[in-house]
């Protein structure tokens, strides 16, 4: 499986490198026997490649005379925020309750249960998971540091563009008002040798009406 970093490196290396290395990879593939699982993972016949060994231990020492602070609902809500690492891209709760073949989400769930039993709060549990897996274990990035950008940018962009549109409309409106005023004071010369229809067509051309 090409990792993201591999891919970016290759991209940086340029298409030429990929072209050069490709024929070799291809030759290997052709020599393969059917039903080889490595071929399965290469094509769309499988929806995703499950990594059954992806679970890691997330443990904290239990608090002294620990009392669980999370009830079952709060725990499920917490598990909705943690991502299963099997490759399904679902959260732990959804994965463990729908996909019995995944061994990763039950393992992660067991860790959550132990931490809850140890009296840890939701935030402490989240932090423990981030400590072990890194921030990618969360279903959405934290609202702090560089990742705050993820949350702010879309809204900020829409607001800035919205204000921009209003200002632009205002300026346009003012310019249009100027033209309207000019038109209101415009008296068509009467001594021109033209029919009313021709004058109207001329005015239409001046207004830009024919400009679709």
């Amino acid at each position: 499986m090409t990792t993201r970093r591999d891919f970016l490196t290759r991209l940086a290396g340029g298409a030429a490198a990929a072209v050069l290395t490709a024929p070799r990879a291809h030759a290997q593939q052709r020599g393969m026997i059917m039903h080889d699982t490595s071929m399965v993972s290469k094509d769309s016949s499988n929806l995703f490649v499950m990594d059954q060994g992806a679970a890691r231990e997330v443990r904290l020492p239990a608090k002294a005379n620990a009392v669980p602070v999370l009830d079952a609902d709060a725990r499920d809500a917490l598990e909705h925020r943690i991502r299963c690492q099997c490759g399904c891209t679902l959260d732990v709760y959804t994965c463990r309750t729908t996909d019995f073949s995944c061994q990763v989400s039950p393992a992660m769930h067991a860790n959550v249960m132990d931490l809850v039993k140890g009296g840890h709060s939701a935030q402490e549990i989240i932090d423990a998971f981030v400590g072990v897996y890194g921030e990618r274990v969360l279903m959405a990035p934290k609202k702090s540091g560089f990742n705050l950008l993820a949350w702010i940018t879309p809204g900020a962009a829409v607001v800035v563009a919205g204000v921009g549109i209003v200002l632009w409309l205002k300026r346009w409106r003012e310019r249009s008002a100027g033209i309207e005023a000019a038109r209101a004071t415009f008296v068509p010369p009467t001594d021109i040798d033209a029919t009313p229809e021709e004058l109207e067509r001329l005015q239409a051309a001046v207004r830009g009406d024919d400009d679709r």
Partner: protein, 680 residues
């Protein structure tokens, strides 16, 4: 036939290269003979790609396992329907399929508009051929479906049973049809930039093909949702997966364009912006394919991860670069000269509509690529999942829904206070009534209340528009309500077809808001055990396990559970769910386990049962999900499709030439929304 197909593919490559070269040369040198040769080259490319495709279909249907593609995607015992659809189920085949659609679209688009857009044709043909050249070259060199194996396997690998589903057979081709259709407006936009010409003919071609793209993307997306819901078993239909997002992006920009194009038609405004939207839709389609194919972003749809990704990246950046250059140097020549008469006008409403649609597209794109940005900037991998997209998009989506209602009520050019009052009174009252009713019924969720109030408001505007139109027809033609409705829609397909699409959108939003009331219940039941639970509407449900069954069939082992279901004491029936493990003839497991969800649908509620697994022979672990209003997603999608068809339905030539300028002289009282002719 296989050999003919394989050779045709290479001839197609040469043809596309020829067409690209002579078309651009013909445009630059103003040589009609070269331009004509380019057009013929495009037709020939289509013929060759068609032959290559027929060759592959023949190889698939005759089970020619000497081809790696055939051996890798089908098996002898698969039904022919899915053998046929296996054409686009893999990388190499889908590249060829893409080339097939593009060459077909290109041929139709050029053939039908050739006589009217003389100056644009060489540039449009050249651009289409260049895109085609890229796809055919990728097919030939990087993902050739005609790659031969050194040996002849006895049977093929088959297709993942989860993909053997009618939804999955139709979802990819619809998406492809939608994605690829963005190439036609793109080619004409590039042609407009090259020639600095952009007139009503241009508008007609670009609008038609964008509409087609929108139509197929809508169907493709909704079918994908339906498939995910019934087949994947996690109880939802949209997960903000990068690949889902990448199909949503061009849909959003297409939708934005279909609205802003009306301003250009009526007022000659926003020409530059429309060119930009057209170009962006195409680039997003390519970007979507690039994401799907490269594995650069983690996704469930991590199909093949092959060097095709690199080619796509190169093509994407090249196309973007050229487009930015052209837009930067030529766009100023497409200046508009119209005037804005009021800040409160339909023109302004459409601008905000565009702002929101493009804003949502940006938010989705931003969330999709943010993991890459974050990894570059900080070295940390992050996940940007549903919580992010929901938080960011719900407010924007609600604003957009509000505009869906506001837009049609505001007059073009300038809206007066009195007509605003008259137009808004009933729909606004409708929205308020909905909100008050729901509060009285005990709904307290603010987002949901806002969503339903807005749904009521928008539904009110749509009903008001139809009511006024039908009343007007009745007054003039003395028609029945039904005849009035049919004629109203028939005579002004774009406007009323558009309202029907809006009605579909209202259904979708109502269904999405229902998601907030979804409840999950983990249940473990032995045979004969019962489980009692209350659904979001307050009804009491009882599920009684009828026992666990296992069946061992030649192609799969499955475990199933059947639940006898009661609602408020009344028997509803049996809901059953299965977990399947497919296997080959040696009994080796094939693919991951798959789920058959048990779904009981009503207009108000889906009861969704998934068997998670079986313990101790008779203990079933399950999840029961109460999913309110899901049916309205499919209904809304269907209504949007019907609306789209009405808008697209070809009109007689004379009427189409006038489309957008059609004057519907309103009887007194229909007032503000009347579309008066603007041009002379």
């Amino acid at each position: 036939m296989t050999l003919i197909g394989e050779l045709s593919l290479w001839v197609a490559l040469l043809m596309a290269a020829w067409s690209t070269t002579v078309s651009y040369a013909g445009g630059a040198l103003r040589r009609d003979d070269l331009a004509d040769s380019g057009v013929r080259g495009l037709y020939a490319t289509f013929a060759m790609v068609l032959l290559a495709s027929i060759g592959l279909w023949t190889a698939l249907l005759s089970r020619d396992y000497s081809l790696e593609y055939v051996a890798g995607h089908i098996s002898t015992n698969m039904p022919n329907v899915y053998v046929f659809t296996a054409f686009w189920s893999g990388q190499a085949g889908s590249m060829l399929f893409w080339a097939l659609i593009l060459s077909m679209y290109g041929t139709i688009a050029i053939a039908t508009s050739r006589s009217r857009n003389r100056e644009l044709i060489p540039w449009a043909t050249g651009t289409l051929s260049a895109i085609l050249l890229f796809f055919i070259a990728t097919t030939c060199f990087k993902a050739n479906p005609y790659t031969h194996l050194d040996f002849m396997p006895i049977d093929g690998r088959g297709m993942n049973p989860q993909l053997q589903n009618p939804g999955m057979a139709l979802h990819p081709p619809n998406l492809y049809l939608g994605y690829v259709a963005t190439a036609i407006p793109f080619a004409f936009a590039i042609a407009a930039l090259f020639t600095r010409r952009l007139d009503a003919e241009w508008l007609g071609v670009v609008r038609r093909w964008t509409l087609l793209s929108w139509f197929f993307l809508t169907i493709g997306i909704v079918l994908g949702m339906w498939w995910a819901y019934v087949e994947l078993g996690w109880g939802g239909y949209w997960a903000w997966d990068p690949v889902e997002n990448s199909s949503f992006l061009p849909w959003l920009t297409n939708t934005a364009f279909l609205h802003s194009i009306m301003i250009q038609e009526k007022r000659g405004m926003l020409r530059k912006w429309n060119v930009v939207l057209v170009v962006v839709s195409f680039l997003l389609s390519i970007f979507g394919t690039f994401i799907t194919r490269s594995g650069v972003i983690e996704s469930v749809h991590s199909f093949a991860q092959s060097p095709v990704g690199t080619w796509f990246a190169a093509f994407f950046f090249l196309a973007t670069g050229i487009t930015i250059y052209l837009v930067g140097t030529r766009l100023k020549d497409l200046e508009a000269r119209a005037e804005l008469e009021s800040m409160v006008s339909r023109e302004a409403a459409f601008l905000y509509n565009n702002l929101l649609l493009v804003g949502i597209a940006f938010a989705v794109l931003w969330g999709t690529v943010f993991p890459i940005l974050s990894e570059w900037a900080t070295g940390n991998k992050v996940t940007v999942g549903p919580p992010f997209f929901n938080t960011v998009n719900i407010p924007l989506g609600l604003l957009l829904l509000a505009l869906t209602g506001i837009g049609p009520l505001i007059a073009w050019r300038r809206a007066s206070v009195s007509n605003l009052k008259r137009q808004f009174a009933s729909p606004a009252a409708f929205g308020v009534i909905v909100a008050v009713l729901l509060i009285a019924l005990g709904m307290r969720d603010v987002y949901a209340l806002v969503a339903y109030a807005l749904c009521g408001f928008v539904a009110g505007t749509i009903i008001q528009e139809f009511y006024k139109g039908i009343r007007a027809r009745q007054a003039i033609h003395n028609e029945s309500v039904v005849a009035g409705f049919v004629h109203l829609v028939g005579r002004n397909r774009r406007r009323y077809g558009g309202y029907i699409v809006h009605a579909g959108i209202v259904m979708l939003f109502a269904a999405f808001a229902g998601l907030g009331f979804k409840t999950d219940h983990d249940i473990t039941l032995k045979t004969g055990d019962a489980y009692d639970v209350v659904d979001p509407y307050g009804h009491k449900w009882r599920f009684v396990s009828q026992g666990v069954s296992t069946s061992d069939r030649p192609d799969r082992v499955s475990e199933g559970v059947a639940l006898e279901t009661f609602r408020d004491g009344k028997r509803i029936g049996i809901i059953s769910s299965e977990k399947r493990q497919y296997k080959d003839s040696q009994g080796n497991a094939l693919f991951e386990k798959s789920t058959e969800a048990g779904i009981k649908s009503t207009a108000r509620l889906d009861t969704y049962v998934v068997l998670a697994g079986v313990r101790d022979r008779d203990t079933a672990e399950m999840r029961v999900t109460f999913n309110p209003l899901v049916v309205w997603v499919w209904a809304g999608g269907f209504v949007m499709m019907i609306g789209g068809l009405i808008v697209m339905w070809p009109q007689a030539e004379k009427r189409r030439a006038q489309a957008g300028y059609t004057a519907v002289m309103p009887p007194a009282g229909a007032g503000a929304a009347a579309e008066l002719p603007v041009t002379v």
